[in-house]
Each structure stands twice: as C-alpha cells, then as structure tokens.
Amino acid sequence: MTADWVSGYGLQLLWGVVTTLSVTLMALIIGTVFGISLGAVKIYGAKPFRYSAEVYTALVRGVPDLIIIYLIYFGGTVALTKLTGRYVDINGFAAGVASLAFIFAAYASDIFRGAIKQVPRGQFDAAHALGLSRRAAFLRIILPQAWRLALPGFGNLAIILIKQTSLISVIGLEELLRASSVISGATRQPFLVYSVTAILYLIMTSFASWGFRHARIWSNRGFA
C-alpha cells in the first residue's frame, strides 16, 4: 500500500501537478498578452474594434467556463476535421490552454483597462513631448506603470486560473484533478485522495500568492 503510493500513485499525482502548472503557465502567458491587447483596444481602438472587444468580454463573462471549454474542444475538433478533410482529435492540452487563456483574457482586459486609465495623463504628454512613438510610449511608459496598478487584480485572477485548470479534466487531459479521480477510483479512498489533492492545490496557490506579494512590493519601488 505505502509502496504503491510512493511509486505509482504519487508519481501520477506529481505528473498531474506538472500538467496543471504547465497549463496554468501557458494560459497565463497567452491570456496576459491577449488581455493587455484587448484592454488597449478598449481604450485606444477605433469604434468597431472597441465594440468587438466589449462583446467578447460580455460573451465570455456570460457563459459558464465549462461550456466554453466544451465548445472550444468539440468545436476545434469539428473545425479541424472539416478543414483537413479527415478526423482530427484535438489535443486536450492545446484546447485546455486555449479556452483558459480566452477566459483569462476577457477578465484581465478589464483589469488592464482600468490600470491604464489610472496612469496620469501627464505621463502620455511627457512621453509624446519627448518624441516617443505611440508604441514606445505605451510599452515603455504607460504599461510598466499600469502593471503596478493591475498587479493586485491580476494576481487574484492568476490564482483563480490555477484552480480553473481543474475544469479541463472534463476533456480528458490528465491534470491534477483528473489524476486524483483516477487514483480515487483505483484505491477506493476518495476522501483521502481528494484531501491530498486539495492540499496540493493549496500549496500551488499559496506559492503564487507569496510570489505576487513580492512582485507587488518590488513594483512599488520608486513610488512613495
């Protein structure tokens, strides 16, 4: 029994943790880039783009995450099958990362929009007066300051994202939750297994909170 835990099940859980972390990290990176772009479009974009970004956010916010995951997974399979002319089983990892990134971006865009708007107008003026291009002004002056303002909300979202990865167990990707449900079936000790799993999630989210707290302190350097 003990040997099983250490060798077989333990390894399986650990692999689940690795998968969960990889999905989180990928979704976080893609979702952040997409979220910043969406946020910027909501502020600076021409009307049709601005409007599309708002509709996108409203759609994602209004539909349960689980359904979005199903839609992207099955929709992706159908689309790729149609496109290539033969049956393609879409990769669970890719579908999971994509759907979580899309969801993340929708919420993050509003956090970034708010943060960008809080950067004083004088900062734009100064950047423009120095001859910086709009792009350089945004990337070098506005975004670094918006980051600092966005960090509390962004950290919150990122921690929720870690837990959200459990949703993609429904499309068969063996991340942490899926691994534990398999193990709990095999060992018939669901309470024990899920408790261990809960602790593993807690460890991941605690590390993330700790990391974001330090990021916040670091980002406040230079500010009174």
Binding site: D125, A129, L130, G222, F223
Partner: protein, 242 residues
C-alpha cells in the same frame, strides 16, 4: 502660427492666435488662469490638437499627420508644471530614454549626455535615485535636464515653478535663467509660460499677455511691466504684483 483656434467643446480656449517667434528668441507668456497660455504652448508640439488655423514649427507644418508631428516633437522640448517624470525609472534612465529611442544614441553616449545635463542643473549626484525620492525643485530640474538631453531647437516651459513649494522656486528659476543664458549662446528658442517678473526681465526678449484665448498685448518686458498699454494688462499686473 496664424489664426489658431482650439475648442474644448463649445468653449474657445484659443481664439484666433497670430504669433511668430524668431529662432533664438525668448518669449514669456503670461495672463490670468484660463486665458489659454498653456493650451497655446501645448499646441506647438501637438500635445493639444489645434482645431483651426495653421502652425509651422521649424519649417514643418503641423497638420496632424503623424510623420510631421513626430518631426516637430523631436526638435521641441517641454517642461511641465507637474514635472511628469517617469516614476518607474531612475533619474538617469528618465534622461536617457528619449535620446536612445528617438535619436538612436547608444547607452554609453546617452549616459554621457544625460550626466552632462544633470551636472548643469546640479543634480548629477542623485542620478540613480527615483523621482519620488527627490524634492519638487529637484524633480523639476531633472525634468529640465531630461528635455535638454534631446538638444531641442525650441524649448517650451509650462509654468515650471507654479507647482513648487515657495522655498524651491528659486533653485528652479536659477536653473531656468541659466538655461536662458545658454539658449542665447546655442540659439535655442524658448517659450515660457511664467509669472515671475524677475525671470521675464532677465531672460525674455518679449512678453506676451493673453486673456480669454487671445493675445491682448505684447512688448519688451521692461515696457510691459512698467507701462502696460491695455487696461486688462494693468488689472492683471496689479493683481500679481502687490
């Protein structure tokens, strides 16, 4: 610039301004608050978009085209009332950023230029600090150095001392006077919104008095301050000089 207008909604902040400033000339703009002085100089580097009339800066027509706007901004420096230093960068990085990004200087060259100008405003020893660690007067001196690092042909100063505590006004005014003296040597044009008579007398070739979005009176500083021609200027001066 000729017949320049700027509207904020239905309010005309600038109402048909005709003004030409010669190369190397130093002009002080004064007038009551809300008279359009800041708007006027903010139109010169297109931080504020004018709605009518035409503005030509250093031979380049400011027609809202990005290329022309960029060209003008490269040659026009600006110092703001509220400093507007970049809070997430050290003093030195504030001064190096634009020369590197806009002028294409290498880091070493940009640092050399930045240290040079920081030394001139006597703040080189604070180069590694962040703006928030400096007093208002020091921040404004850094802002002047930052603008100078681009070696602008034209320098715009928008009430550089009015956000400062009284005891810091002098250090910034001293820096500005020095800047004025330098400008005479380098042939840099200066347009400064300011109310300090001492500064205007010392530095300015011409004083412009604005009210309600229009230029009401202009003349040599001595003449303007001692014998203003218009009643409005007299009223204004009696209010600022007690």
């Amino acid at each position: 610039m000729s017949a320049v207008t700027k509207l904020f909604g239905s309010f005309a902040a600038l109402n048909g301004i005709d003004l030409s400033v010669a190369r190397g000339e130093k002009v002080v703009v004064c007038g009551p608050s809300g008279s359009g002085k800041s708007t006027l100089i903010r139109c010169i580097n297109h931080i504020e978009k004018h709605d009518g009339g035409s503005i030509v800066v250093d031979g380049c027509i400011l027609d809202h085209k990005a290329a022309n706007v960029d060209r003008v901004r490269r040659e026009v420096g600006m110092v703001f009332q509220s400093f507007n230093l970049f809070p997430h960068m050290s003093v030195l990085a504030n001064c190096m950023l634009a020369p590197m990004l806009v002028r294409g200087l290498k880091a070493v060259e940009a640092e050399e230029v930045a240290i040079g100008f920081l030394r001139r405003v006597r703040i080189a020893d604070q180069a590694t600090k962040y703006p928030s660690q400096l007093s208002g007067g020091q921040q404004q001196r850094v802002a002047i150095a930052r603008a100078m690092c681009m070696r602008p042909k034209i320098m715009l100063l928008d009430e550089p001392t009015s956000a400062l505590d009284p005891e810091m006004v002098k250090e910034v005014l001293d820096t500005m006077m020095e800047l004025g003296a330098r400008a005479s040597v380098d042939g840099m044009t200066m347009i400064c919104v300011a109310h300090e008579m001492g500064f205007a007398r010392e530095v300015a070739d011409r004083v412009i008095f604005m009210d309600e979005g229009a230029i009401v009176e202009e003349g040599a500083p001595e003449q303007f301050f001692c014998q203003p021609k218009t009643q409005r200027a007299r009223n204004f001066l009696s209010r600022i000089l007690h």
